[in-house]
Amino acid sequence: MKFGVVVFPGSNCDHDAYHVISKHVGQPVDFIWHKETDLSGFDAVIVPGGFSYGDYLRAGALARFSPVMKSVKDFAAEGKFVFGICNGFQILCESGLLPGALMRNAGLNFVCRHVNIRTENQYTPFTNELELGNVLSIPIAHAEGNYTCDDATYDLLEENNQIVFRYCDENGEITQESNPNGARANIAGICNQDRNVLGMMPHPERACEELLGSNDGRNIFRSLTNAIAAVEA
């Protein structure tokens, strides 16, 4: 089993992801420079958070044209796992691997704090360690996390059960007050129809150590490890 963490100019959560995979998930992991195109040997690719290309034009818009992204698309098409976190989620949306777009936060501010998210679909490779309704405490840190899509896309997301996480209060209630950025229907994370691509704004790699205030992120990485092991078996 091998994880890859893509590094764009401006990525800044690449080392956090690497640290969590190697130290807490205990699996081999390599960085993948954005100019590389060979993803053979990897079972899962993490597109990490940060400010790829300085967020120029739109967050994630320029990273889409990096050579590695064509390979990431092929990788996803083969059914392998792709996990976009924060800027990675923005890049996956810009690349068309996930539907919709992430706009400027409704409150205009960069929001950096722990939020609660509710598990909306436990039947994905990223959530098999969770149960429906489980509430996770995971930090966010973004200015463009306001998920938006048209009505037709939203209906499809609902119909196919592609909404994986929603912002909620500590009791798991989906409220307007618990929505940190104005995202449509409190959406914090979605997957593709085939369930092998997940994008989420919260940072589970920053919630894998008690010292950092929460361990809840480990569930997501453990789930992914289970999923890879199931494919290998």
Partner: protein, 81 residues
């Protein structure tokens, strides 16, 4: 040959930045403003060898594939000689 490209949020998409600017303009004393929407403007210089038809096609592709995100944005192109 030059092209100007204007990228604007679709009318159905909320524009919190435009709203904040509108609010500031009102604080400045302009109460008669109905709405302000923020957008992006690009000036593209093309090689002299490119004719007007080609310029239109090239800039259309650039606007659609790079400058605008069709999920949330519209664009308008002006070819300037």
């Amino acid at each position: 040959m030059k092209a100007n490209v204007y990228v604007t949020l679709k009318p159905s998409v909320l524009d919190p930045q435009g709203k904040a600017i509108h609010h500031s303009v009102e604080l400045l004393g302009f109460q008669q403003i109905a709405d302000i929407r923020q957008g992006k403007y690009f000036e593209i210089a093309l090689d002299d060898s490119v004719n007007e038809t080609e310029a239109g096609e090239v800039v259309e592709r650039i606007a659609r594939d790079v400058l605008a995100n069709p999920v949330i944005e519209d664009y308008r192109i002006e070819i300037v000689k």
